[in-house]
Amino acid sequence: MPFTPTTPLANQGRNQSQQQFLDNFMEIDTFVGVNHKTFGNAGQGFHKFLQFVDNVNFSNVVPNANNTEIILGNQLSQITGNFELTIKRNNETYEIVTSLQPNNLVFQQIRLFSGILIRFGIATITNGGVNTLIFGTEQQHYVPFTTVYQLLVTPRYQTNIPASINTAIRVIDFTATQFRVYSSDRISVGAHNGSSSFSWLAIGI
């Protein structure tokens, strides 16, 4: 039944109005029941679930001027190419990014509802001493950091490289786009001779 908001008009007879009223009340009942508990039932007015339609231009939605509004919606991500659950608050917009990285990549990333971005992965370096690594060398679905707050590294033992038992790794520094580590021998002072592998975890926004 179509919903007619502009009824009844001043010159409408009751016969015409009656059908439009009936149609409107039936359509309201159907409309509300899509995502809400229906009229006349226990819990009426509550949500059953939230369905976010993906053909809406959520990009143009702006929270209220006094920054006391938080908005959830669906937005076509320029990064993943998929529609992603998105949260907007104050002057911030964060795609929750429900798309994970493909399994053949060596890093993953998680955007939390708070906006905090966590990225973690595994890196292999071929030389000891100072090494510079770039976040997101794999460009697919890469969500860039604005700021990185902390970075942690842990050495990994590679069974096919026995010398890797003698490695230590530490963080030198990091930016939003890259980080530097120092690879040394574990049992002696100085740069490690050869390749090594390590796990890393970065927290930022």
Binding site: P2, F3, P5, T6, T7, P8, L9, A10, R14, F21, E27, T30, F31, V34, N35, F46, L50, Q51, F52, V53, N55, V56, F58, V61, N67, T68, E69, I70, I71, L72, G73, I87, R89, N90, L112, F113, S114, G115, I116, G129, V130, T147, Y149, Q150, L151, L152, V153, T154, A168, I169, R170, V171, I172, D173, Y182, S184, V189, G190, A191, L201
Partner: protein, 199 residues
């Protein structure tokens, strides 16, 4: 158009009711299209977005349910000073609240997840066996339980500073670590980066 739920009254003329009813239908139409796909459109009734205006006080619910709402948190929630989205889990007469958008975005910071998992991170200068005490304020949630801690040495030197860090113990208020030289067992001083997971 203002919505009037008290029409028509028994003694209202049709001329008066006509305008009241018209205004009500227009109000229904305009109100629902704020966050929903409109009447007469495909997917009408579904959400285009969900907008949460800040609640002035914590809503009261009955029964068992989850609810989402926006509020500026007050104690016992961390007083972040911002409007936050809260996941409210009502279980009979008791409830829990989780600030799913809560965070301190800084070099020493924290964030909460909808599951209630709390993550804290930071950096501290430590000598030998010593405690990293998690910052405390009304704006920072306190761990009720801690599960895991990760640490590493961080230093801007481009030579080997010969340092190592080991986790000694973990409590809800402190992370105890032992900083030594790497090649001997002697105590030393270094900056330690940490990452702790709990609730």
């Amino acid at each position: 158009m203002p919505y009037n739920p008290n029409i028509p009254q028994p003694n209202d003329t049709f001329a008066k009711s006509q305008k009241d009813i018209l205004n009500n239908f227009i109000s229904i139409y305009d109100s629902f299209r704020v966050d929903h796909i409109e009447f007469n459109f495909i997917n009408g009734g579904m959400h285009a977005k969900a907008s949460f205006n800040e609640q002035s006080t914590t809503p009261l619910f009955a029964g068992n349910m989850f609810a989402l709402y926006a509020i500026e948190p007050t104690l016992p929630l961390p007083e972040t000073g911002r409007t936050e989205l809260v996941l409210h889990n009502q279980m009979g007469l008791t409830f829990t609240q989780t600030l799913i958008t809560g965070r301190q975005a800084a070099a020493t910071g924290w964030t909460l997840m909808p599951s209630g998992i709390l993550i804290k991170w930071g950096v501290a200068t430590i000598t030998g066996l010593n405690a990293i005490t998690f910052p405390v304020s009304n704006a920072i949630p306190v761990f009720t339980n801690v599960y895991n801690a990760q640490v590493c040495i961080v230093d801007s030197a481009t030579t080997d500073i010969n340092r190592n860090v080991i986790v000694s113990s973990l409590t809800t208020t402190d992370l105890n670590v032992f900083v030594t030289t790497r090649t001997t067992t002697g105590a030393a001083t270094a900056d330690v980066s940490y990452f702790v997971i709990g609730v």
